[in-house]
């Protein structure tokens, strides 16, 4: 899993690689090995290959990460605003087409003229950019509301509700009742490392009128 603490991991990998190279060049083990392949040597070679791959990956990551972070610094705020705008546009288009919002979270037991019903669901995984995560940490020191994270999560929520509307229309339902929205972290156990994202999941019962 790619992490942003490459500064810590890379020296360890490099040291390990150097250690393995020194071990494989050891004259004592070279003398003791026969014509057949020694298992210890084989493991050494495998470790060496993995070490070299790790170093290459680390170097790529070291150069790519600042570029991505710079991109996030410049564009991520604007991208987020664009995403919210697009979702709102799609939402308005559907509401103006049907004259009302087709989602509602009331139980539809009172409806009499329903001919068929079935579950519909939609989800979206949204994560704040690393630049926003840094800003969020900064805000965290001072306390108060962290508007950046709130924005990311509400963008995800709007997107998943919009998808629910679109899927319901696509599958031929007239209305979606009893809508529930769940939000769950993608990887809470990841701690400081790994991907930070939330999954917003919306589901409801699609109904079709006679």
């Amino acid at each position: 899993m790619p992490t942003h603490n490459f500064q810590i991991r890379n020296p360890v990998t490099i040291l390990l690689t150097i250690f393995i190279i020194v071990l494989s060049l050891d004259p004592v083990s070279a003398q003791s090995s026969n014509a057949s392949v020694n298992i210890g040597e084989l493991i050494g070679i495998l470790l060496l290959i993995f070490g070299v791959l790790g170093v290459i990956w680390g170097l790529i990551w070291m150069f790519a990460y600042p570029i991505f972070l710079l991109y996030a610094l410049i564009f991520s705020g604007k991208n987020l605003d664009n995403m919210i705008l697009k979702t709102v546009e799609r939402e308005r288009a559907i509401i103006s087409k049907f004259g009302k919002d087709i989602l509602s979270n009331i139980d539809g037991g009172f409806r009499k003229d329903v001919i068929s019903s079935g579950i519909v669901w939609a989800g979206a995984v949204y994560g704040p950019s690393h630049w926003h995560q840094l800003l969020g940490k900064l805000y965290n020191w001072f306390g108060g509301s962290i508007d950046i994270f709130q924005k990311v999560i509400s963008a995800g929520r709007a997107e998943s509700m919009q998808r629910l509307r679109e899927i319901a229309i696509e599958e031929g339902w007239d209305e979606v009742i009893n809508v529930r929205i769940d939000t769950s972290p993608m990887a809470p156990a990841a701690g400081r490392k790994g991907i930070k994202a939330v999954e917003v999941f919306a589901y409801g019962t699609g109904i079709k009128y006679n």
Binding site: M1, P2, T3, H4, A64, Y65, F68, L69, Y71, A72, F75, S76, N79, L80, M83, D107, G108, G109, R111, K112, D113, V114, I115, S116, S117, G118, I119, W121, G123, A124, V125, Y126, G127, S129, H130, W131, H132, V152, G156, E159, I177, N178, R180, D182, S184, P185, M186, A187, P188, A189, A190, K193, G194, I195, K196, E199, F201, Y203, T205, I207
Partner: protein, 111 residues
């Protein structure tokens, strides 16, 4: 869609509009634990730096939910039900790489 394939009605309301529930078979459930492969992790890790939606994870969770729901439905069919009402979904992350998707509901017979 699940109800089209299996021929049984799945809703998340307590009753089915326009139908009468005659018999209950208890709670049925289905779950899956899904892990993402490392290639996805790497590309989505890069995507996470930029921010925004992680499409591959959305797809993955959708597939897993479909599987959990179809397991729940086959449990209901095994009990002789023809509908599942009051379906709820739950998600829990076991390790950073894997997530459990869980669906449960009440299996009933309708007229």
């Amino acid at each position: 869609m699940v109800q089209d394939v299996e021929g049984i009605i799945v809703v998340n309301t307590e009753t089915i509009p326009g139908k009468l529930i005659t018999e209950s078979f208890g709670v049925v459930s289905g779950s899956t634990v899904r892990a993402k492969h490392i290639g996805r992790d790497i590309t989505q890790g890069f995507k996470n730096i930029i921010g925004g939606e992680l499409h591959k994870y959305t797809e993955l969770l959708e597939e897993s939910r479909t599987e959990a729901l179809s397991r729940m439905v086959s449990d209901a069919i095994a009990r002789g039900a023809n509908a599942v009402v009051n379906v709820r979904f739950a998600t829990s992350a076991i390790t950073p790489g894997a997530a459990e998707l869980f669906a449960y509901g009440t299996a009933v017979k309708i007229e």
